[in-house]
Amino acid sequence: MRDGSAMTNGRLRLGIDIGGTFTDFVLMEEQSGGLHTLKVPSRPADPAGAVEEGIRRLAGDHGMDPAKIGYFVHGTTIALNALIQRAGVPTGLIITRGFADVLEIGRLRLPNPNDFMCDRPESLVPRNLVREVDERLLATGEILRPLDLDQLGEAVDQLVDSGVEAIAVSFLHSYRNDAHERAAVEFVRARCPDLYVTSSADTWPEQREYERTLVTVMNAYLGAQMKAYFDKLQGVAATLEIDASLFTTKSNGGLMTAASAAEAPVQTLLSGPASGVVGALHVARIAGKPRVISLDIGGTSADVAIIDDGVPYSTEGRVGDFPVIMPTVEISSIGAGGGSIAWVDPAGVLKVGPKSAGSDPGPACYGRGGTQATVTDAYVTLGIIDPARFLGGRMPLDAVAARAALEELGKQIGQSATAAAASVLEVVTSNMYAQLLPIMARTGVDPRDYALLAYGGAGPTHACLLARELGITQVIVPRFPGLLCAYGSLVADLKSDFVATVLLRSDQTTFEELNARFAALEEQARAWLRQQTGELGRHKIVRAADMRYRGQSFELTVTLSDEHRTVHSLDEAAAAFHADYEDVYSQSDRTAVVEFVNVRVTISGEKPHPALTELPTMNDHPPTPGERQIYLDGAWRGGGVYERASLQSGQRLTGPAVIEQDDTTSLLPLGATATVDRWANVLIEVNG
């Protein structure tokens, strides 16, 4: 697939996103901003192989010269999949005496206490591979008991005998003083040079032993595999004579070198969806709508992020069963997608999901043996998706099978296949609404102030239906909705987060002391950036602190220095806290003592983003659509059928209509109008 002009002879940027089903490629020409895209089937057993195949095809079919790639970045779900499938290496944990069960007990609350069959998530390190050693620090960082090296030696030997390939070390209060952890890591390295060893203060030095130990264990559990994978990928790059160094995307929406990723795989866990959000923000900004709700609908779930002219972050991210304490792009997953299965419960009520047909067998229309009706089958039956055009015609769908599945479903609720299909869409839309509304309440936004930015295979198909429910009037569909994650990786910055738990009180500390803590983190941050590219370069540093009123048990993260705000004294820092506090709680206590719990520094290495190719303006030439019958709002209607690649800037379309392209179909319901902007985004106005 190609967009814009033929490939010119300039420098190239290559972004790759390795997903479960497809490996996506977006190639950008730096000078012209021209984009070339490609999808190849992923190879779960050999992810690097799919990358090699894709690059060879780009070189062969598209005339790309790999030597011209000056920028090579990729996102991968390898670590995530290994974690979810519990396919990491056997890992041992060495921990302070008395706390061997930190992973077993976690934060105590059960995932679903109402369910008699409920279980805690299976621990990444079985209890018999956890070894306690004598050592103890106090909350102040003072040493209460020294590290017992004899016990440590015995513990390591036992773990090695039990077959562990990696060891995580986590001691209480190491965020205050990492002397014991460092000593232990050195000891293990000296004794067993081949083991992969990580410590908690190195991984993420924040107070809260369960969460800190968990990310440390994840690192150890995934590290060896990630390193092997990156070695292989470097090999592929060398074979293909790609000169550029390899970067990988992170859960915080930034980039790091592949070498860093091998050391901190835990930072890549949520990188796929995170780069999607980075891409979404980029599109939202160029479309002139910097406040958007991003909606990425795939086969089994939909990922949602609330974007207010910036990437949203959370320190309460989750990966599978587990919390991740590090800052990650704040994305909520809702259990509804194109593969969600429709069914009828014993009371005769129509339900959709949460079960999904996945990609195997997939929806009935995939013709792989699935017989249960899914949301995708409803799209096909209602004429929204053209079965012959799916994935650019490379995977024709079986409309008869889709209709048969819906007929079967309809019999159970007394409806025709068509009416049942419409019901399925209504129910799944109300499902999405039900899950989205609380997510917005959690961040305190009113959906009516936002546009919906739709991507993923089914995002643009469903976005207008959902927007109507939410009271959202504008929907944005980017040029390549199926490749936004790969695209996001091309526009991301090098970025890393640093934390220190300081527990300083405003009445017992000085601004100098606070500054010194920030300065120490910034030194780490700059060293990190230098290590990434060999030079510091243009960069941006943001300081923030988790603050609270003394005696409170929860904190607010307050930005203390960025392009909008800089504090010059403790009083100004406190004032910033009071102001942010008022925003959330509509009150504050300006006389109270304020505590700085954690200080945080985020560094981003900035690089120029190439401008995208603009489309020629064709205001006076409305496109001429094809036509087919589409069932919408209770009736079959003649709907326009447009080809995405032929749309020109400034053109206006009116619903009912569909816009077709290889990676998705966008639906414009009755009453919706759309315009195409200069960067080929489709901007849809929906009338509530």
Partner: protein, 666 residues
């Protein structure tokens, strides 16, 4: 049949509004209970007072069956009103202890009442005799804080400032309570907006019909699930332990009666209300939320998709005799009524176990205890009050798998990082982990309990606790599974040996003292002697079962870290008695049942009903004191009870009789 699609759409919309309210409270709520332990709730209530939507995975998750009729009846509702209420007695079962502050807002459309939005938080303090307002030893509700009968906090949009001042002047944390109230108010406002949007979209009548529709839908599912169970009366008896107060043990008797598509919780035979804080003011309300939780869990286990609303409880009758511990009259104290709720959950599981043996586990730890520490801060010169780890134990073993470690079916609380506790308090924590050999042995063993042990490094501290249960009678086993272990509190004073001190009401610690709290392991399911020896070995390797316990409890002989097959077979064949029966209650409970037969206890309860309610606790105490020597020696018979009661009546016949008795004694 289009209705069955519309019902699902409306159910989703209602669910969204309830979840949105809960998310708003979580974001803007102020106190620890909201932020850390999720003790808050939100829901939508029909015009007739039935809850038709509540959050599933946010907040307390136990709101199904909350009755709102009584409060609704007492108020002349106008648009823009918000009613505040925390009083268990005037709210007739909606509220069950004072710290739960509820707000209710009517939602009108063009002058017609459509429904109500309701929410609550558990306030960290609502006044009363102890900080935190809850103590097991409170003897009446006036000791537990400020009582607010339904009152318009906001009248047609106008906040009642005078009332607010009165309220906030009566609690120890006025700012935090006001912060929480504001979070509740803003969540109610959102719900009002959303319901009006819904009406604009679908029309008022369809929404009103829809409310009935989702409730009918819930009811239909519940009736179908009950119909699948065999008819019959299924009895289960268990105890609450108020032995840290003069009250002692409290006997609860549940007959779960299944008939067709209806199910009745009959508590006839349960002990009278007590002068301690374990009373559960259910008002014998049909489908009462704190009584039905075991059946709701059952519904949700067999069908995770049942609609989550009070339609589910329509087929659930409750018979809770007036004046009993599960339906007390004012002014009974009820701060620790959660203990009763958890025990009723266990008993429901006990009764259901007979009809749904493939679903129902053995008894779990059956407690959540919350301990508070108050300690002077040398640097600040102020008292610090902080929660220690909330203490839960393991669940019971299950028909198809082991129990859950450190988690029971009431574990919705989160713990506190030990690093944070050590930063906030002058303590060093020596251990926070699973308690070995605590799980009840079984083919599927119970979940392990927890051990939490700390040493005081500061000069002095006072520890209070509530909700400690199952220190006397262990969690029971099922189908040949053994009991779990009881709770245990060990105190080691500086320089002395550790001793078991039972439950804590108030405990003073000195510098260097070490306090260890050990929670219950759940009961086992099935004969432990048929458990796969390799699984027993795996538990040994994991450090949850000792080699000695493996041989004693499971008949598994370990040699050099491996199962000795021959010795194991021999050891298992040696056993004389195969455990039988549906339940294993354990020797302590069996001895108690022999000393105090149920018929004698129930006869005593029936006899003291001849006295007015205010006298019954005293009468009961007198009788127990007189009969205790008989129980210690053998068994208290019906004749013993009747004779003791006759003597008591003789003494108490009236003021004149008392005077003459006293005079005669002279």
């Amino acid at each position: 049949m289009k209705d069955q699609v519309f019902i699902e759409i409306l159910r989703n919309r209602f669910q969204a509004i309830a979840n949105e309210m809960a998310s708003t409270i979580l974001r803007t709520g102020y106190t620890v209970f909201v932020k850390e332990t999720a003790d808050y709730g939100a829901g939508l209530v029909s015009r007739s007072g039935v809850l038709f939507a509540a959050p599933v995975n946010l907040g307390v998750s136990v709101m199904i069956g909350m009755p709102v009729e009584a409060v609704i009846r007492q108020i002349e509702w106008e648009d823009g009103d918000v009613v505040i209420v925390n009083d268990p007695y005037s709210s007739e079962g909606l509220i069950t202890h004072l710290p739960d502050i509820y707000l209710i807002r009517p939602i009108f459309d063009a002058g017609e009442l459509v429904c109500f939005a309701m929410n609550f938080v558990h306030s960290s303090d609502i006044g009363g005799r102890v900080p935190g307002s809850i103590s097991p030893s409170s003897t009446d509700i006036f000791q537990e804080g400020l009582r607010i009968p339904p009152y318009k906090l906001v009248r047609k949009g106008e906040l009642d400032e005078a009332f607010l001042r009165l309220f906030l002047s009566n609690c120890r944390i006025p700012d935090q309570n006001w912060g929480d109230l504001r979070a509740l108010l803003s969540a109610l406002h959102t719900a009002d907006t959303r319901i009006r949007e819904l009406i604009t979209r679908y029309g008022r009548e369809p929404v009103l019909t829809g409310i009935d529709g989702v409730l009918d839908y819930g009811e239909m599912r519940a009736r179908a699930l009950i119909s699948a169970l065999p008819d019959g009366d299924y009895e289960f008896i268990d105890y609450l332990e108020a032995d840290m107060t003069p009250v002692g043990l409290i006997r609860l008797k549940l007959t779960l009666r299944i008939k067709g598509d209806e199910l009745t919780f009959d508590f006839t035979g349960t002990d009278p209300q007590v002068q301690a804080a374990m009373n559960l003011p259910s008002h014998s309300h049909r489908g009462h939320w704190m009584i039905v939780i075991g059946v709701i869990n059952y519904f949700r286990t067999v069908d995770p998709h049942v609609p989550y609303n009070s339609g589910l409880v329509r087929p659930l009758n409750v018979i809770a005799p007036r004046g009993s511990v599960v339906n007390p009259e004012p002014p009974a104290a009820c701060g620790v009524r959660a203990a009763a709720q958890f025990r009723i959950l266990d008993m429901t599981m006990g009764a259901l176990g007979r009809v749904a043996p493939e679903i129902i586990p053995a008894a779990g730890a059956g407690q959540i205890s919350i301990a508070l520490v108050a300690t002077p801060d040398i640097a600040d010169g102020e008292m610090k009050v902080s929660v220690l780890q909330p203490l839960c134990g393991g669940s019971g073993g299950r028909p198809v798998k082991d129990g859950i470690e450190a988690g029971d079916f009431c574990t919705f609380l989160r713990n506190i990082p030990n690093e944070t506790l050590e930063h906030d308090l002058p303590i060093v924590i020596n251990r926070y982990g699973l308690r070995p050999d605590s799980a009840g042995p079984g083919e599927h063993r119970g979940g392990s309990g927890v051990e939490f042990s700390f040493q005081l490094t500061g000069p002095t501290a006072a520890v209070t606790a509530r909700g400690m249960e199952r220190y006397v009678f262990p969690p029971w086993g099922r189908r040949g599974g053994s009991t779990g272990t009881t709770g245990l509190t060990m105190l080691r004073r500086t320089g002395e040996a550790a001793e078991s001190i039972g439950k804590i009401d108030l405990l003073n610690l000195r510098q260097g003292d070490e306090l260890t709290l050990l929670t219950q392991g759940g009961g086992g399911f099935g004969d432990p002697f048929v458990r796969d020896p390799q699984r027993v070995l795996a538990d040994i390797v994991r450090g949850l079962v000792t080699v000695e316990a493996a041989e004693r409890d499971y008949g598994v002989v370990i040699l050099d870290g491996a199962v000795n097959e021959a010795a194991t077979v021999a050891r298992r064949q040696e056993r004389v008695e195969t455990p039988t029966g549906e339940y294993t209650l354990g020797p302590a409970r069996e001895a108690y049942d022999r000393a105090w037969p149920g018929a004698s206890q129930e006869s005593m309860n029936a006899l003291i009903k001849q006295f007015p309610n205010v006298l019954r606790p005293f009468a009961r105490a007198e009788l127990l004191a007189e009969l205790r020597p008989l129980a210690t020696k053998g068994s208290v018979t019906l004749t013993d009870v009747e004779a003791a009661f006759a003597r008591l009546s003789e003494r108490w016949r009236g003021p004149h009789a008392a005077t003459t008795t006293v005079l005669a004694a002279d």
